[in-house]
């Protein structure tokens, strides 16, 4: 069981959360101008890294806010969490 740091509520147990996939995926401004390949890239293609991963979580049984977490997919260690709209601490996406 993971303990996930909600930026509002603090450390809470994983069962209170739901997972929302990779973070910082920006919807293209003009979807109609994209070709199929670029649209599919936006819709389906994910980094799936082995190591640090920026991902979205939803505190669904708590304060019901979405936020971002930096988690290592290998060790499951959570480095930090930050609010939607904020950049990860090192400013990298």
């Amino acid at each position: 069981m993971l303990e996930i740091p909600c930026p509002w509520c603090g450390l809470r147990c994983e069962s209170e959360f739901s997972y929302g996939g990779e973070a910082h995926i920006v919807r293209p401004e003009n979807p109609e101008a994209l070709n199929d390949e670029a649209w599919a890239d936006y819709l389906f293609m994910r980094k799936n890294p082995r190591g640090p991963h920026l991902e979205q979580w939803h505190h669904v049984y708590g304060c019901r806010r979405w936020f971002n977490v930096k988690r290592d997919t290998l060790s499951y260690r959570i480095e930090c969490s930050y609010r939607v709209g904020e950049q990860p601490p090192e400013g990298e996406i």
Partner: protein
């Protein structure tokens, strides 16, 4: 008035008295309260002023805390969301006053009184009972009077709050889950 005209609480089918007499836990439903869900932006002073104008006090801004003033209880639910528990006779007036005070503001006030109910749990073993089905640490050094939390109890989401010494707890639960939670509590309380 015939029986069918009488209000019936969500937990009317649960007989708490089975365990209340002898055990170290006392369970009780607090039915027929007014529940108002309030949303707005606390960084807008017009919003907080409107709340003060209607309730007489500012909304709690520290996450997972609540305020009690007279017969009103106001829970922090999120950075822009609160729950106000009021006696039923004040609920309609409060809602109307909010409607007026919040006009033109990006906000909402919604009556959810019939959508949820409250269970009060007192007694020396109250904390141990809740801890059986709740993943949060409820030790009195961590979860203190004035604190509330939305979390899980058994398989349902609840809004949990604590007062006093020894700690007594209140659970706000959705009506549709209240029967499940009531039966879960009756089963869990058997050992105390």
């Amino acid at each position: 008035m015939s029986d069918t005209d009488q209000a019936e609480s969500p937990l009317t089918g649960i007989d708490w008295s089975i365990f209340n007499n002898a055990s170290g836990v006392n369970l009780q439903e607090l039915p027929f309260q007014g529940h108002l869900n309030l949303r707005g932006r606390p960084d807008e002073s017009r919003f907080t002023n409107a709340v003060i104008e209607v309730l007489g006090f500012a909304p709690p801004l520290r996450p997972n805390t609540y305020k009690v003033v007279d017969s009103l209880k106001m829970y922090w639910l999120g950075p822009d969301e609160w729950l106000i528990i009021t006696p039923m006779e004040r609920q309609a007036d409060l809602e109307a006053e909010f409607d007026k005070a919040l006009q033109g503001l990006f906000s909402s006030v919604i009556d959810i009184s019939s959508g949820q109910t409250i269970i009060s749990i007192t007694g020396p073993d109250a904390g141990t009972l809740i801890q059986k089905g709740c993943p949060m640490d409820l030790h009195p050094s961590v979860f203190r009077p004035g604190d509330c939390a939305q979390t899980l109890l058994g398989k349902t989401g609840v809004l949990l709050s604590v007062t006093g010494d020894p700690p007594t707890y209140e659970l706000v639960v959705r009506r549709s889950f209240s029967d499940y939670l009531g039966l879960w509590l009756l089963d869990a309380v058997e050992e105390f």
